[in-house]
Subunit: 222 residues, 4 copies
């Protein structure tokens, strides 16, 4: 199978994630500032755990080739990606140390620890199946927002987000990662026991992404 | 330090967990049936992951004595505790296989995977610090509901829950487990680096327990 | 594939393990006492790690059925199997605490930690592929020694070992475990990438068994 | 405590490791070529597992600071250190793929899997205690060989090894790593339960280093 089979196997959840209200308000520029700030803080904490997950991918890999494929992600996460959030949050006077001291919200814990445990419980393929909704989903969202003429790009305080995830660099990185996932999935029949296990992992991780968006909106009512 | 120091270090979260609206409605017998059923289904899935966590405690233990201390919990979880939920849910025609096929809700994932990851990332003491809010908290809740004269025990469809967790058998089991935790914590100063790490683990797990109660109430509005 | 395909894929190593000089001296009753005592002490330490590995199998299992299948092994290892060695070593005045305080020899570390790491790095099937040479190999050795008319059973100080591993109870337990392994392997083609990975795990674990026998003989020259 | 306390707690094993016959023959240039080639092949396989162990250190770290401290080691191992061995072994027509396909010898499995399991079973400090004998020991050996006037540096086919591990770059890297370990150990009393656990981990890893040297010499008699 390929990654697209995983998406096809959970169409409803995939749509609920990639077309979430949070994404739509981001596209229109109508998202409340506290929601965006909460999202960024939590995404910072998310990236930290995500770096642990890619380090786990090095631990889990059986070949030097697979070990080397995961290393740039660990490097990028601990370096440039976290720096991006720190820079942005600096506008509110928040430092990296402040962000690291924030409490993780429920959705952040649910998604990140699910990925880490699915990877530890299963093998390298399970780990990538759990990681995939994040990278593939963000790339799809970014691409869609750029392609959609109704996206507000002129007067949108969140346009840097759209530019980042819709931009060539991110799209190219995800394309490489997705090719690697397709390679790992190539031998596996989606209707086998193993295939069904991977669908469950991918779908559960997708559902946790929904919780992650939602907590950004929920901050307004809490 | 002792387990009580962990509780004292997060008083607000501990109260929000042990005196949660879900618990109060349970005590009064006013909890909506769908909330209770959702809770039981999710608690079934929770117990399955919890059994994995106690198996991890055997893996993590350095001595035969500590390995043997965790074994009865794995046994009880996979046997009697899961059977209790299966029996109860049988009233709605649900079998064990049905329950195992249910989707895990966000709070279930958040709490269980946090425990498993905290235990895997740290050592045996971290694992027990993450497990503790569940056992110690349920025992405290059960004890409080039994002692509180305002608890409705005559005409309460959930009285079997109160009887179970307030009962001698559960109270005794938790007392033994808590003594073991106190023993593991004895050498650790709460104000040391190690002590602060354990407080963070205990408090985060406690916060995830709040999410677990809340999802039972949220099912009414979803 | 089936477990027999794993054996067939490493015939030379399998023979070097199951027909090792240590086994032959055991069968003839000519093994030096210090070799046997060293073996028993190390096997005690081996069983402790082996119990950790079966606990890991519970952690790694995705279904309640698979979790329950690993539990009796943890129980038997921590209880009856370790007791057997403690009883025997009691003839030399050694207690369980003495045995637990012994240093692990190189072969003991090599085999046990290989199993634990193979299981942690891969998934449940990798773990069982690493565990299999021990159970299946001991059953084959026991069966062979009983069937072989040249085995010395009258005047053999190690006959209790032969009776234990050639006996019905052990043979029956391994037959059940082997059926479970065959079930886990059923979907996997030995010539696929996954199949080759499992052959490597099984063969490496088999090679480490050879080191474990050898260290019993080496004690005489050290 | 400090790392020196760990060494002092196992003086005999430490000397047997750092002054091993293999090291002495290397210093004199009298080591048999097959022994050195076997060592290099096994050390290649060792470095691969060692990179997994440093990736595990990223997974295990609780802070971004600790995560970032382990990253350069993963990078160096997968890149320059492995390349050094591949270059050297190229003299015998061996490629990286050839080396990766070699069987791991018993000592290689014993040491690497012990480190990985000690780290997984315990926390980050256990992992560094298991890793320490390698880095600290090699630095001490390199320093001693350079300082010792009886070392043969003129006419020694293995002088590049001495130059590498006695050289400033390696010494400086280990000094930084050792300072980090001292920092992690600072709060721990060597006579506490925790201190004794770490001594055991450090000593067992040191004993496995002895097996690793020995297998280079044993290749001549096998």
């Amino acid at each position: 199978m390929k990654h697209q089979d995983l998406i096809n196997a959970c169409r409803g959840d995939w749509a609920a994630y990639t077309q979430h209200e949070f994404v739509q308000q981001l596209a229109q520029g109508t998202l409340a500032q506290p929601s965006y700030l909460h999202y960024l803080k939590q995404d910072f904490l998310f990236l930290k755990q995500y770096a642990r997950a890619y380090a786990l991918a090095i631990y889990k890999a059986r070949t030097l080739a697979d070990m080397r494929k995961a290393l740039p992600s660990v490097h990028a996460l601990l370096d440039s990606e976290i720096a991006h959030h720190v820079n942005y949050c600096g506008n509110w006077g928040l430092t990296e140390a402040d962000l690291e001291a924030e409490d993780e919200d429920f959705g952040t814990v649910a998604y990140t620890r699910y990925v880490l445990d699915a990877g530890m419980q299963g093998d390298l393929v399970d780990l990538y199946a759990a990681l995939a909704p994040c990278s593939i989903g963000y790339a799809e969202i970014g691409r869609n927002l750029i392609a959609d003429s109704s996206t507000n790009r002129q007067d949108n305080p969140f346009d840097s987000w759209i530019a980042l995830y819709g931009g060539d660099e991110f799209q190219h990185g995800v394309a490489l990662g997705t090719a690697h996932i397709d390679q790992l999935l190539a031998d596996i029949d989606i209707n086998s026991q193993r295939g069904r296990e991977l669908v469950k992992v991918f779908r559960t991780a997708t559902r946790m992404e929904i919780a992650f968006w939602q907590q950004g909106l929920d901050v307004l009512s809490s």
